[in-house]
């Protein structure tokens, strides 16, 4: 076992995959200097043709990656802040994602779009704090939000090897965290969830940086004799519905803990599917980000983000409700 930061896991995955496959290259703003550390040192080993700094032209370099992918490459595009995805929405959603369908399967578009530093880190204010993973999944783009260093490594490799476009969110709140990882790290295919902590009384679905908070809450509740399962989908699309079904079949109760907006967010989709298809014994709950842009002052920001206390309250609520069946 070795200790590794989330950020280092991303960097190792990118380096390993660039070493393994010469068709992989990274393109984006400041990737040679590597502001986020994901591509640090790569230019010295792989050269400027595979570590490509671009002008501040998000639409163009995103479309460029698609053209290179159609011609046989496997580009990794890095954005410095999550809100740049709004600028690049057209070339990702309307071009790269739809190309395979539009052409009747004539080509694949294997592009990975990495957003390191996604999600609020206190004080970044409205235009640097969005975490729009549900938006991409809603538009049909494969989307992953790994919570741990080992998952970040495995899912970045998995994303790069995918033959479809994949948006990869690396939440700001966990980028610097260290954890024990196995010596042999493996690729993780998209669409497999993970039980971080097993339990029998309630299923907590948590994703990204909220997995850590959910685990703290689950440990606290265990002292009261409440057995909470923490289940992490890891990828939003494809989503491991069978994995979640198995957990809910065991517990019958569900709380979703999600840092996207409440309206049409990931939690909304999970609750809707669970209500239609899973054997819930009481009505489920969700704890989400509020439906508002993030204000600057820290106390205002914290008032809008989902937190542990809210999760505890929601878990108690579904446990004290009388069973419907």
């Amino acid at each position: 076992m070795a200790r590794m930061r989330y950020q280092q896991a991303l960097a190792k995955a990118l380096r390993d995959e660039m070493t393994r496959d010469e068709k992989v290259f990274i393109i984006g703003e400041d990737v040679r200097a590597s502001l986020r550390g994901v591509s640090r040192g790569l230019v010295a080993d792989f050269g400027r043709q595979r570590v490509i700094d671009t002008p501040i032209s998000e639409q163009a370099f995103t479309g460029f990656a698609m053209g290179a992918a159609l011609a046989g490459h496997r580009p990794v595009v890095e954005y410095q802040i999550p809100s740049l995805l709004f600028t690049a929405f057209e070339p990702i959603v309307n071009q790269a994602q739809k190309f395979r369908l539009m052409t009747g399967g004539q080509a694949t578009v294997p592009v990975t779009y990495i957003v390191p530093g996604s999600g609020a880190r206190l004080g970044l204010a409205a235009q640097h704090s969005d975490h729009p993973y549900a938006l991409f999944a809603q538009a049909g783009v494969k989307t992953v939000v790994p919570a741990t260093a080992a998952d970040a490594y495995g899912l970045l490799i998995g994303a790069i090897r995918e033959d479809d476009p994949v948006v990869f969110f690396a939440p700001a709140a966990v980028l610097g965290t260290r954890e024990e990882v196995p010596d042999e790290l493996d690729a993780i295919p998209l669409g497999s969830g993970r039980v971080h902590r097993a339990g029998d009384d309630v299923t907590i679905v948590a994703i990204g940086h909220l997995v850590r908070d959910a685990l703290v809450v689950a440990a606290d509740l265990a002292e009261e004799g409440i057995s909470a399962e923490v289940w992490d989908p890891r990828s939003i699309l494809p989503f491991d519905w069978e994995g979640l079904r198995a957990s809910v079949e065991k517990t019958g109760r569900l709380v979703v803990f999600d840092d996207t907006n409440r309206t049409c967010g990931l939690a909304a989709e999970v609750l809707a599917t669970a209500a239609e298809e899973f054997p819930l014994v009481v009505a489920p709950k969700r704890v989400t980000r509020a439906d508002a842009p993030i204000p600057f002052a820290v106390e205002l920001e914290l008032a809008l983000l989902p937190n542990r206390e809210q999760l505890v309250t929601a878990v108690r609520a579904v446990l004290t409700k009388e069973a419907l069946r």
């Binding site: 479309g63 011609a71 071009q95 539009m102 004539q106 995918e162």
Partner: protein, 320 residues
Amino acid sequence: MRRDLYRTMRTIRRFEEQIVELVNANEIAGVTHEYIGQEAVASGVCAALRRDDVITSTHRGHGHVIAKGAAVRGMMAELLGRTTGLNHARGGSMHIADVSLGIYGANGIVAAGAPIAAGAAWAGVQAGSDRVAVCFFGDGAVNQGVLHETMNMAGIWKLPLLFVCENNGYAVSFAQEEATAGSIVERAAAYGMPAERVDGMDAEVVLEATERAVARARAGEGPSFVECTTYRFVGHHTAERTMGLGYRTDEEIERWRLRDPLLVTGGRMSPDDVAAVDAEVEALLQEALAFARESPRPQAADAMEYVYATGPAPRQGVSA
């Protein structure tokens, strides 16, 4: 070469005329954007290209796709929504493509093909090839930001990329002189690339300009820009005839029709030669239409096919 240019133009013209009839007869769903009047541009540009060169196209894409060599029967079948179509009935007019011929698709967003062509041009260089990429776009697209982002990137990286602006005078109904400040070629020149304006109604003139630009690109000298002045003889799309938009006069259309690109090039050929090519094209199109009509329609059960290359199928709109 002149005969080949005329044959390509005649094929596009007659293809489009048939498409208009088929749309009006509801045999083709949706609307299509006809290339009638602009045939010299696609024909002239693509005559300078090789099979391994890449093009990106626009919503008005049939001409580019035919000129780059796509099978007309596959195009006809696509527009009629048949499984034998180039895109297996998943794309239709606005997304028609043949990736195996370097045709990276017609496109519903006017300047969106530019960065895609840039990526393909870069990939050619990486592969050690001298192949080039061409992005076609209209005068409307010169006011979309991504085109300028791409011209800048092509300039700094000296990409083997040719920007072909088909200036037909109107972005749908908005006249170019109202929409565009300054001069189009001067904008391109500001990105440090050779830029010229040529007569887009004369395929031979377009071909010569393209050959100059392609030679520079193959020699590693970077991107070029060619503005082709042209005109569409019909509406922005097939539905426009019933809309009475009135943004241009019949006199203006008639004035441009005197410079019909088929007359310009056909007028330099013998009448017998023109008649022979015309007959050849009619036979080709008749066969294409018969093929399309005989081809099967897709099954509703296959509507989710081709969405993803790997992984689970997309979810249906109803639960079990």
